[in-house]
């Protein structure tokens, strides 16, 4: 992974975030609280898997070793995945899934809005297309957060528990390392640290509408970008990659 050019790593991280969250959401298929919600979640998953295809395709092209999006998605082990820890967290109940989607979608919309003016043409084009999808993800997740937070006693308790589970993975989203700084200097990337304040404002506004408070600040967990993942990722990959592992190169 370290041999990849910074831009390839950067694109791969974007792709991994979208891919893993898309795979997580697709686990809801057939299990959502209502048929309509099932479709909503499947639509989000498909948007994200589409974005992953573009970003991983870009990563493979920049790397220049003949790996395409499928090779990167299905041919790497957990330690080579560079997604943030937030997206690999288990679905839990519906409120926990809403919490994860809410926190991530608002980050992703700010990030993609910035990347849409990237000096890297292909990066900018992918971001500009994706940001419209993510704007809807923000709206949907925010609406559900308000419904559950300002709903019944049970839905409120579940929403609080969901946010509590996910909150410790927020700090990692805004960390800047050498890869980020290299890409920022080249005009390809975004200053993620600078997104924290607008993100806080957006999240705070929705939380107050939901009559909720941000969970107490505690030490954030990080390491996903370097391949240090929670145990959850391995299980997710074993399901997602099964077919290509058992039948390499299979297509239909």
């Amino acid at each position: 992974m370290t041999q990849m050019p910074p831009l390839a790593v950067y694109a791969q991280r974007l792709g991994d975030d979208a891919l893993i969250l898309g795979q997580r959401l697709s686990e809801w298929c057939g299990h959502a609280p209502a048929l309509e919600v099932d479709l909503s979640l499947a639509n989000l998953a498909l948007d994200l898997i589409g974005q992953a295809t573009h970003f991983l395709g870009l990563a493979g092209a920049v790397e220049g070793k003949g790996r395409d999006a499928d090779a990167l998605a299905f041919g790497r082990d957990a330690m080579d995945f560079s997604n943030c820890l937030l997206v690999e967290q288990p679905n839990g109940d519906f409120a926990q899934t809403v919490a994860r989607q809410f926190l991530f979608a608002h980050y992703q919309e700010l990030l993609l809005t910035g990347l849409a003016t990237s000096k890297h043409e292909r990066m900018a084009a992918i971001a500009a297309k994706s940001v419209k999808e993510v704007a809807y993800h923000c709206k949907l997740a925010s609406d559900w957060l308000v419904r559950l937070g300002d709903g019944t006693e049970e839905s409120r308790a579940r929403m609080i528990a969901g946010l509590d589970w996910m909150w410790r993975f927020v700090d990692e989203l805004f960390l800047m390392d050498d890869i980020d700084r290299d890409c920022l200097r080249l005009g390809f990337g975004v200053d993620k640290a600078a997104l924290r304040r607008p993100w806080d404002q957006r999240v705070e506004a929705v939380l107050s509408e939901a009559m909720l408070q941000a969970p107490a600040v505690r030490r954030g967990v990080a390491g996903g970008r370097e391949g240090h993942h929670s145990e959850h990722l391995g299980h997710l990959l074993s399901e997602m990659q099964f077919l290509q592992r058992a039948y390499p190169g299979a297509s239909w």
Partner: protein, 97 residues
């Protein structure tokens, strides 16, 4: 929702396929309120580029004609073909009619 076991009410969904066309009835969704109904309609009926605009209306607010009165309501129109504007000669110079 006072009764958690109660299903969400039904909403009828109307989609405008493109600017200039009327909204057309396409089906229904369950939703707790109008805002959720629009989101569910969007996710259920416009995911393959079917529309540019959506209407939703509570199904309970629609009043339908009584099928038992169909004969009285609709059959009298059957033998009044002169109500179709096909008995007029249209001047050749009139293009858009």
């Amino acid at each position: 929702m006072s009764d958690p076991k109660k299903e969400w009410p039904l909403w009828e969904v109307f989609v405008r396929a493109k600017g200039g066309l009327s909204h057309r009835h396409v089906g229904s969704v369950h939703a707790a309120d109008a805002k959720m109904a629009i989101e569910h309609a969007r996710d259920t009926y416009t995911r393959r580029m079917e529309g540019v605009s959506l209407w939703v209306a509570p199904s309970a607010e629609i009043t339908a004609s009584d099928p038992g009165e169909a004969a009285a309501l609709f059959e009298p129109a059957e033998d009044k073909i002169y109500r179709h504007p096909t008995f007029y000669t249209i001047p050749a110079s009139v293009k858009h009619i």
